[in-house]
């Protein structure tokens, strides 16, 4: 490990180096007395593994030096020592990311060595945890996807085994629902953010899959404003999108009729969202939103769960328009 000791006072620097060397006898210690020295050592390999810096140097302050080091090594452990500071400086040092703060005096020098050791040990522990966490995430992800594949396989194999056409269809729909949840799950993982999902990307993928499965001359076009949705809205809304597009594919174009489906996602000023699924097919019956299937029942309940509203109407010139409006938490600041 390479340790940087930055102080413009050569006497104190040597004292500090001596203490640090006692604690880290096998590591390389580089003394930094001026800006050129700092630039030089930051340009060299290996990057620093520990920073010990004075608070106030005549060419920089400890915070600047820490910032420069952390652009290279974002979690580099660091200890500040100073004779000019006070409590405010101590608080600022900790807040800006120093692991510890030691007052510059001969008495305190032994504490400098301990502070350095603790900072290094803590950083190593943090890194191990991080690594372990990454491994665990990958493993869980792998398990989850394999299990989802198992569930889909089971549903599909059951669908093949049953003779009743209606049961077969229902099982296939179920398989597709699990599939669309998996797509969301995949997005969630890939985004590296487990609280929000890139919903526009999900819609594009879902539309592609559904159109591909359908295998008829029905084009599904997605126009979606980019943006992340919190997962508790994205999951129900993702299922809603699946149902609405599936419904349109199944019912809007009877026979071999070709057609178009448009999926639109818009943001409202209150950060709410509007999801629309439009088709140019035969249109819903005039009696209204009367589709009795399990699909529309599911849609209505999912929309209610996110506090949204569902409108379904015949379009002028033919076809059906479904619009789901989900109010947001309020206008963007």
């Amino acid at each position: 490990m390479r340790i940087l000791v930055a102080d413009d006072d050569p006497d104190f620097r040597h004292l500090a180096v001596r203490q640090v060397r006692r604690e880290f006898p096998d590591d390389e210690i580089v003394e930094v007395g001026d800006r050129a020295g700092l630039d030089r050592v930051l340009g060299e390999r290996p990057p620093p593994g520990l920073l010990v810096s004075d608070y106030s140097l005549n060419w920089a302050d400890g915070f600047e030096i820490l910032a420069a080091v952390r652009t290279l090594v974002p979690d580099c452990p660091a200890v500040m020592f100073t004779g000019t500071g006070n409590e405010d400086v101590a608080v600022r040092a900790i807040k800006s990311g120093f692991d510890d703060y030691v007052v510059k005096s001969v008495k305190q020098l032994r504490r400098l060595a301990t502070a350095c050791r603790t900072a290094v040990t803590r950083t190593e522990a943090r890194r191990r945890l991080q690594q372990h966490g990454d491994l665990l995430t990958h493993e869980l992800y792998h398990r989850l996807h394999n299990n989802l594949q198992l569930v889909i396989s089971l549903i599909s194999l059951t669908a093949r085994a049953v003779a009743d056409e209606d049961a077969k269809r229902k099982l296939r729909d179920l398989g597709q629902r699990v599939g669309s949840l998996s797509l969301l799950q995949e997005r969630l993982y890939r985004g590296g953010n487990f609280a929000e999902v890139d919903f526009a990307a999900y819609l594009r993928e879902l539309a592609g899959d559904l159109a591909g499965l359908n295998g008829r001359g029905i084009a599904v076009a997605v126009t979606a404003e980019d943006g992340l949705l919190p997962v508790d809205v994205a999951v129900p809304l993702g299922l809603v999108a699946n149902e609405l597009v599936t419904n349109a594919l199944k019912h809007a174009f009877p026979g071999k009729r070709a057609g178009r489906i448009a999926v639109r996602l818009k943001r409202r000023d209150d950060r709410g969202i509007v999801l629309e699924v439009l088709d140019d097919g035969v249109g819903v019956p005039e009696s209204g939103v009367g589709e009795p299937g399990a699909g529309m029942g599911l849609v209505r309940r999912l929309v209610a769960q996110v506090g949204g509203a569902l409108e379904m109407r015949r379009r002028e010139g033919g076809g059906t328009a479904c619009r789901v409006t989900v109010p947001g938490p309020g206008p963007t600041r």
């Binding site: 990958h138 792998h142 398990r143 996807h145 394999n146 993982y189 899959d209």
Partner: protein
């Protein structure tokens, strides 16, 4: 492992499925048959795959699960198939780990399908092989 010259492009593809979970393997077999092709065998390990091919089983394409038991994973099996001049293959993986992905990509497979697989994408890989043969 050479392909049989008497076969024509109208013949169904002979697909070898490497997957240790039999339910998933059966499901993939269903996808292969739905696309009008045939499954020559379903195996769970790299060893079985290589033995089968060495014994003269002919396959036009191999569906390779990445994480399989037996000490040799799907990527290593893919490498072995390449070295032996075996049939082309595509990966099916539940892993999203960048390292696994890079190892898969390094072999330039026909495709890398993410589990749970999109059935249309699975069929499209087989279809692309068909088109490749016609071209």
């Amino acid at each position: 492992m050479q392909s049989d010259r008497s076969r024509t492009r109208a013949d169904p593809l002979r697909v070898l499925i490497v997957e240790d979970e039999f339910l998933i393997a059966d499901y993939f077999a269903g996808l292969v048959e739905d696309a009008g092709h045939e499954v020559v065998a379903t195996v769970a390990t790299a060893r079985e795959t290589l033995d089968l091919l060495a014994a003269g089983t002919e396959a036009d394409v191999v569906s390779l699960d990445v994480k399989i038991p037996g000490g040799m994973d799907g990527v290593e099996l893919g490498t072995a198939l390449r070295e032996r001049g075996g049939p082309p293959f595509f990966f099916v993986t539940g892993s999203g780990e960048p390292m696994t992905r890079r190892r898969c990509e390094a072999l330039s497979p026909l495709a890398i399908l993410q589990k749970p697989v999109d059935p249309a994408a699975f069929a499209a890989v087989l279809q692309s092989l068909r088109r490749g043969a016609e071209g």
